[in-house]
C-alpha cells in the first residue's frame, strides 16, 4: 500500500488494490463452500450416471443451480458471521444487564415464535405429506391442509416456549439434562399413547418431524449467538462452551405442541376408513370438515378418488354426477371452487383424469376431447420463469431475515438503548445473508433438488423396478398388431413389443392401460432395476440403505446451520474441539439415521419402534456424558435437517414410500435427528475418557509422590 492517503484516520484504497484484497477473500470463501458441497454433488452425479446409467436431464440448468448454491452459501455464511451472529450476541450481552426477567422471557417468546413464522417449514411438511389421503389419515390430512395455519402456530408456540426455557436455563445456570429427561420421557409416553388411537398414530411422524425441521439456518445461528452472549454475562465461573441447548429445546417442545394440537383436533375428525365409505352419505358431513368447503371436497374427490368413491358423493347416482359436472361448465365460480382457479383447470382435469363419461360431459364432442387430451398430456413440465423465480426467492429470503433483524435492532436501540457496534459490518452482513439465502434457494430449486429428485426417487431401483418418469414418452400411431406374446417358465403369458431406439431395437412390456386406441398413442415410461438381486431382494435393499447413508452423510456436511454450530464450538473451545470432528460425527449420525429411516419405510416399521429404543439409549448416554457434550450433541440434532438435507431426503423418502406404497414419508427426518445425537455423545464419551486417562496418569504420579 504505497499510495495510502491519510484522511480522517481512513486509508483510501484504489480500485486495483481493493480488487487485490477482495479476490483472495472471495476465493477462500467460495473454495470453502465448494469443499462442503462437493461430496454430495459428486455422489449424486456418480449415482445417476454410473450406477443408474442415466444421463442427467437438464444438466446445464442443474449446473447453474449448483453454482448458485455454492455462491449463495458463501454469501450466507459470511452474512451469518458478519451480521446475524454479532447482532444476536450483542443482544445476549446487553439484555440480561439491562432488563428484568419478564422482559427477557417476552423477548425470547417473540424470537422463537417469530423465527418459526419467518422460516416456515410447513412447505417441507406439506411435501412430505403430499400423498396423504384424507380417508387413510383424516387427522393428518386436516393438519396439513385446512388447519396448516394452526399447525404452524402450534409449532411457533412450541419454539417460543422452548426459547423461554432456554433463557431461564442460562440465567439460573440450570443443566440441560433434567429438561431432556422430562421432555423425552414425556414424549415417549405420549407417542406410545398416540399409538393406540388410529388418528393420532398417523400424526406422530409429523410431530417428530416438526421438531426436526423447525430450526432453520437463520434461527439456529441467531439463537446460538444470543445464548453465548447471555452466558458471557451471567453464568458461573466456567469458561466452558455454555450458550448451547436452546436448539435442543426448540426441537423437543414443538413435538409436544403438535401432539397436543392433534389430540385436541382428533375428536372432530372421522376415523380412517375405506375410500368409498369415506364419501358415503353416512360420513359425508364429518368428511366435509376436513375441507374448506363442500366444493373443495368434491374437487378433491374428482382429482384424487376412484370413480366409485366419486359416485358415493352423489349417492351412487351416475346421472346426478354427470349432470353436476356438465352444470359446472356454465357456472364459472362454482367450477373454480371445485377445480381451482384458471380457465382451463376443469378441462385439464377432464382430459387427464376424467372418465369417458365425464369427458363427454365437459367437452362438446369427441374431437374436442381428443384435442384436449393431446394438449394437456403433452405439457410435461412447467416452463422456468426466471423473473418469477427471482421474485419469489427474494421475498422468501427477505422474509426469513429482515423482520427478525429489525426486531433485534429495535430491541437493541429502543429497549436497551445501546448502539450497535460495528454497525456498518453488521448491515453489510445482513445484506450478504439475504443475497446468499436468495441465491442459495434459487440454486436449490433449480439445481440441487432437481438433481435430488432425479436421483432420490430412483434409489429404490436398487431393489425393485422403478419407472423413470422424466424419460416418459409417447409413441404416435401405435398399432396393436405389433404386440407379441412371450411365455415365462411358469407358463404365464406376457405381452411385449419391439421399439426402435437410437442405438438399436429393444423390447417393451405392453400394458393395455397405456394404450389409447382413440388417439393411437402409446405412452410408456421406461423402467430401471432391480439393479441388485431379484425384485425386493435383501441385497438390493441393503444397497439402497448404503445409498441412503451416503446421501445423508454428504448432504449434512453442506448444511449451513451445522457449519455455524461447528464454527461456534471451535471458537468457544479455542480450537480444542475441531469443527471437522463435530461435523464428521454429525454427518455419520445423519447417514445412519437416514438409512434407518429408509428401512422404516421399506419394511413399514412403526415409528415408535424406530424412535423409542434410540431415545431410551440416549437418556442413558446423556446421564453419563458431560454437560458440555450433552449440550453440543443434542443441539446438533436440531441443526442437521436444513435446506440441503431436507429436499434430498424427502425426495428419496417419498420416492421409496411411493414405490412400496406407504401412507406418508414422515419419520425419516426425525431419525436423522436422533442418530447424530448418539454419535456426537459417543465421540464426547471417547474424548472425555482420553482426557480423564491423561489426568489420572498425572494423579498416579501424585500418589507416588505422596507415598514417597
Amino acid at each position: 500500500m504505497s499510495n495510502q492517503q491519510q484522511s480522517g484516520g481512513k486509508i483510501k484504497v484504489g480500485f486495483k488494490q481493493a480488487a487485490a484484497m477482495l479476490f483472495p477473500y472471495a476465493k477462500s470463501r467460495i473454495v470453502e463452500q465448494i469443499k462442503s458441497v462437493a461430496l454430495i454433488i459428486i455422489y449424486l452425479i456418480l449415482f445417476q450416471t454410473v450406477v443408474l446409467g442415466i444421463a442427467i436431464a437438464q444438466a446445464s440448468l442443474i449446473a447453474v443451480g449448483l453454482a448458485l448454491v455454492i455462491g449463495g452459501l458463501a454469501f450466507f455464511m459470511e452474512g451469518l458471521l458478519l451480521g446475524l451472529m454479532p447482532l444476536g450476541e450483542v443482544i445476549g450481552l446487553k439484555l440480561p444487564q439491562k432488563s428484568k426477567l419478564p422482559v427477557i422471557l417476552g423477548f425470547a417468546f417473540i424470537l422463537g415464535a417469530g423465527a418459526t413464522f419467518a422460516e416456515p417449514a410447513i412447505s417441507v411438511l406439506k411435501a412430505a405429506g403430499s400423498s396423504v389421503k384424507p380417508w387413510d389419515a383424516p387427522l393428518l390430512f386436516l393438519m396439513l391442509n385446512k388447519f396448516s395455519g394452526y399447525l404452524v402456530m402450534s409449532v411457533g408456540a412450541g419454539v417460543g416456549i422452548a426459547v423461554m426455557f432456554g433463557m431461564i436455563r442460562f440465567m439460573y445456570n440450570i443443566s440441560l439434562k433434567p429438561f431432556i429427561y422430562i421432555l423425552v420421557s414425556f414424549l415417549i409416553v405420549f407417542t406410545l399413547w398416540s399409538f393406540f388411537s388410529e388418528n393420532m398414530r398417523n400424526i406422530t411422524g409429523l410431530a417428530w418431524d416438526c421438531g426436526a425441521v423447525t430450526t432453520g439456518p437463520v434461527t439456529v445461528p441467531l439463537v446460538l449467538a444470543l445464548g453465548i452472549g447471555i452466558c458471557r454475562v451471567v453464568g458461573s465461573s466456567g469458561s466452558g462452551s455454555s450458550g448451547f441447548g436452546v436448539v435442543t429445546l426448540a426441537s423437543l417442545f414443538p413435538i409436544i405442541s403438535v401432539l397436543i394440537l392433534g389430540s385436541v383436533l382428533s375428536s372432530s375428525v372421522p376415523p380412517p376408513m375405506a375410500e368409498k365409505e369415506f364419501f358415503s352419505a353416512a360420513n359425508r358431513d364429518k368428511a366435509e370438515k376436513l375441507f374448506d368447503s363442500r366444493e373443495g371436497m368434491l374437487g378433491y374427490a374428482f382429482q384424487n378418488a376412484k370413480e366409485e368413491s366419486q359416485l358415493a358423493l352423489f349417492d351412487g347416482d351416475r346421472g346426478k354426477m354427470l349432470e353436476y359436472v356438465s352444470g359446472l361448465k356454465y357456472d364459472v365460480d362454482q367450477a373454480a371452487a371445485v377445480f381451482g382457479a384458471g380457465a382451463e383447470a376443469m378441462q385439464k382435469w377432464a382430459a387427464l383424469k376424467g372418465t369417458a363419461e365425464q369427458q363427454s360431459a365437459v367437452f362438446a364432442d369427441k374431437s374436442a376431447t381428443l384435442a384436449a387430451v393431446q394438449k394437456f398430456s403433452s405439457v410435461m413440465e412447467e416452463p422456468l420463469r426466471p423473473s418469477e423465480l427471482m421474485l419469489r426467492n427474494i421475498k422468501a429470503a427477505a422474509q426469513a431475515i429482515i423482520p427478525l433483524s429489525i426486531f433485534f435492532l429495535l430491541v437493541l436501540t429502543l429497549l436497551l438503548r445501546e448502539k450497535l457496534p460495528r454497525a456498518d459490518e453488521v448491515f453489510l452482513g445482513l445484506g450478504f445473508a439475504v443475497i446468499g439465502m436468495m441465491l442459495f434457494n434459487i440454486g436449490i430449486e433449480i439445481g440441487l433438488s432437481r438433481l435430488g429428485n432425479q436421483v432420490g426417487g430412483k434409489v429404490p431401483s436398487a431393489f425393485k423396478a422403478v419407472e423413470l418418469h422424466e424419460q416418459r414418452s409417447a409413441i404416435n400411431g401405435f398399432d396393436p398388431g405389433i404386440v407379441k406374446t412371450a411365455i415365462s417358465p411358469a407358463g404365464e403369458l406376457e405381452s411385449f413389443f419391439y421399439v426402435k431406439g437410437k442405438t438399436g431395437y429393444s423390447q417393451l412390456p405392453f400394458k393395455e392401460e397405456q394404450h389409447n386406441p382413440e388417439t393411437k398413442q402409446y405412452n410408456f415410461t421406461p423402467t430401471r432395476g432391480p439393479l441388485f438381486g431379484a425384485e425386493g431382494a435383501l441385497s438390493g435393499i441393503i444397497v439402497a440403505l448404503i445409498f441412503a447413508f451416503a446421501l445423508g452423510y454428504g448432504a449434512t456436511l453442506a448444511e449451513p446451520a451445522l457449519n455455524a454450530l461447528g464454527i461456534t464450538v471451535e471458537e468457544l473451545t479455542v480450537g480444542a474441539f475441531k469443527k471437522s470432528l463435530l461435523m464428521q460425527a454429525v454427518a455419520l449420525g445423519v447417514g445412519v439415521g437416514i438409512a434407518l429411516g429408509v428401512a422404516k419405510i421399506v419394511w413399514n416399521i412403526p415409528l415408535i419402534w424406530m424412535l423409542g429404543p434410540p431415545y431410551i439409549l440416549l437418556l442413558i448416554i446423556t446421564k453419563i456424558s458431560t454437560e458440555e457434550f450433552v449440550n453440543i450433541g443434542w443441539d446438533s440434532a436440531g441443526v442437521t435437517t436444513g435446506p440441503i438435507t431436507v429436499p434430498l431426503v424427502l425426495a428419496m423418502g417419498l420416492g421409496i414410500g411411493g414405490q412400496v406404497g406407504v401412507v406418508e414419508g414422515f419419520g425419516i427426518l426425525s431419525m436423522a435427528s436422533v442418530c447424530p445425537i448418539l454419535s456426537v455423545l459417543m465421540v464426547g464419551l471417547m474424548v472425555t475418557k482420553k482426557r480423564k486417562a491423561a489426568l489420572q496418569d498425572n494423579a498416579a504420579t501424585e500418589r507416588a509422590e505422596v507415598a514417597a
Binding site: M21, R232, S237, G238, G240, G575, A576, T701
Partner: protein, 374 residues
C-alpha cells in the same frame, strides 16, 4: 487509582473445570476478582499408525482455562501458592503458572483490589523456577499449532494458545476491512532464560514471522513460575517419567541452566535478523464492547494496533466487583516506552476509566521483539 504502581500479575493455565476451585482458594486469600479466558493446550501423542505405516507423533489438543490475577507485589507468593495448591500444578501435566511484574498505570477504582487476606504463602511446598522468560507470539488463525509445536519439539514446555482479534491498519480500510482476516492465535509459553532466545529464533523460522503479515513475537520477563513439562501424552515406559526426572534435577541444580542448549537455533540467521528492543507491552482490560473505541483512541495517540481477546471477569455476586460486567475484553498493544503517557491520556479522554468501561491499564517491559520491519 495510583500512577505507575508496581503490582504482580499471576497467570495460570489449567485443565478446563479447575478454575472454580482455584478461585475459591484465592478468595480465602482475600483475592476476590480475577479474569478467565478459554484456551487450548497442545501435547504430543505417539500414533502407532497401521502396521507401522503412518507412525508419527501427532498433536493432541485439550481445552484449558487461563486464569489471571493482579495483586500487590507482596502477595505474589501467596497467590502463586494458592493457585498451585488448589490446582495441584506442581504435578507435571496439570498446568503451569507464572508471575510477572507489571506497572499499573491507571484503573477504575473498582478494579483495584484491596486485599485483606494472608500475605505469606501458607504451604510453601512448591518449587518455583526463577530463571524464566515468557514468549508470546501472535499469528494468523490456523498457524498457532505450527509455531507452538516448537515448544514441544524443543522440550521447553506445554504452550497455551488463545484466540484474539487483530486491529490496526485493517480498521482504517472502512468496510473493505472484512476482506482481511482479523482472527489471530496467541501462543504463550515460558522458557528458561538461557533458552528463550533460541526458542524464539526457532519460532520465527517456523512461523516466518519476519515476513510481512505473518505475525509478531516478543519476550516478556517472568519473575517465577511452575512450567508444565509433560509434553507427551501416554503411559510412561520407565520407573519415572522424563518430566519427573527433569523437574527433580531442576530442584537439585536449583535452576534450569544445566539444561540450556546453545546449538538449538539455526546458525547464522540470528546475526542477520533485526530485533526491536526497548518496547513496552501495554494491556487494557475493559468492558465488552468498548475495546473497539478505546483501541481507536490509543491508535490515534500512536499505538500501531492491538490484539483484542475476550475475558470473563470472575467475582462473587455479593462483592462490589459485581457492578462490573463479567464480559470483559483484553487489548494487548506493543508500544514504545515514550508513547505511554500520550496513549494513557488518549484513553482517559476516551472514557477508558469511567463507569461505562471500568478500564484497567498496565504495562510490562518487552526486552526483545520481532516482526516484519519493512
Amino acid at each position: 487509582m495510583s500512577d505507575g504502581k508496581r503490582m504482580a500479575r499471576v497467570s495460570a493455565a489449567t485443565h478446563r473445570g479447575m478454575a472454580e476451585q482455584i478461585f475459591i482458594k484465592l478468595r480465602e486469600c482475600g483475592i476476590t476478582g480475577g479474569h478467565l479466558a478459554a484456551g487450548r493446550s497442545i501435547m504430543l501423542e505417539d500414533k502407532k499408525g497401521f502396521l507401522g505405516v503412518g507412525a508419527r507423533s501427532a498433536i493432541v489438543e485439550d481445552p484449558i482455562e487461563i486464569i489471571s490475577i493482579i495483586a500487590p507485589t507482596e502477595m505474589e507468593s501467596a497467590v502463586l501458592d494458592a493457585v498451585v495448591s488448589a490446582g495441584r500444578i506442581d504435578i507435571p501435566g496439570r498446568g503451569s503458572v507464572h508471575s510477572e511484574e507489571i506497572v499499573l498505570l491507571k484503573a477504575h477504582e473498582l478494579c483495584v483490589e484491596q486485599p485483606r487476606g494472608c500475605v505469606s504463602g501458607q504451604q510453601g511446598g512448591a518449587q518455583y523456577i526463577e530463571e524464566l522468560m515468557g514468549i508470546c507470539c501472535i499469528v494468523q488463525r490456523g498457524q498457532g499449532d505450527a509455531v507452538a509445536r516448537v515448544a514441544l519439539d524443543t522440550g521447553t514446555c506445554v504452550p497455551a494458545i488463545t484466540f484474539g482479534l487483530g486491529t490496526g491498519v485493517r480498521d482504517k480500510l472502512g468496510l473493505l476491512r472484512i476482506a482481511i482476516p482479523a482472527d489471530k492465535e496467541v501462543v504463550a509459553l515460558a522458557a528458561s532464560v538461557h533458552d528463550a532466545d533460541a526458542v524464539m529464533e526457532l519460532m520465527i523460522d517456523i512461523g516466518r514471522l519476519d515476513e510481512p503479515g505473518k505475525g509478531f513475537i516478543h519476550l516478556f520477563p517472568i519473575r517465577k513460575g511452575v512450567v508444565n513439562t509433560k509434553i507427551t501424552r501416554g503411559m510412561p515406559k520407565h520407573a519415572a517419567s522424563i518430566e519427573q526426572i527433569i523437574s527433580a534435577l531442576d530442584q537439585i541444580k536449583g535452576g534450569t541452566q544445566w539444561r540450556s542448549r546453545s546449538g538449538m537455533a539455526a546458525d547464522g540467521v540470528s546475526s542477520r535478523r533485526k530485533y526491536l528492543s526497548g518496547l513496552s507491552g501495554l494491556s487494557l482490560i475493559c468492558d465488552e464492547g468498548r475495546a473497539d473505541d478505546l483501541v481507536k483512541a490509543a491508535m490515534s495517540a500512536g499505538a500501531a494496533g492491538a490484539t483484542i481477546s475476550r475475558l470473563k471477569h470472575v467475582r462473587p455476586q455479593d462483592s462490589p466487583l459485581a457492578q462490573i460486567s463479567p464480559a470483559r475484553e483484553l487489548c494487548d498493544m506493543i508500544v514504545g516506552e515514550q508513547q505511554i503517557p500520550a496513549i494513557l491520556a488518549a484513553l482517559e479522554n476516551a472514557g477508558a476509566f469511567d463507569d461505562k468501561s471500568h478500564g484497567l491499564l498496565f504495562s510490562k517491559p518487552v526486552p526483545k521483539a520481532c516482526t516484519f520491519l519493512g
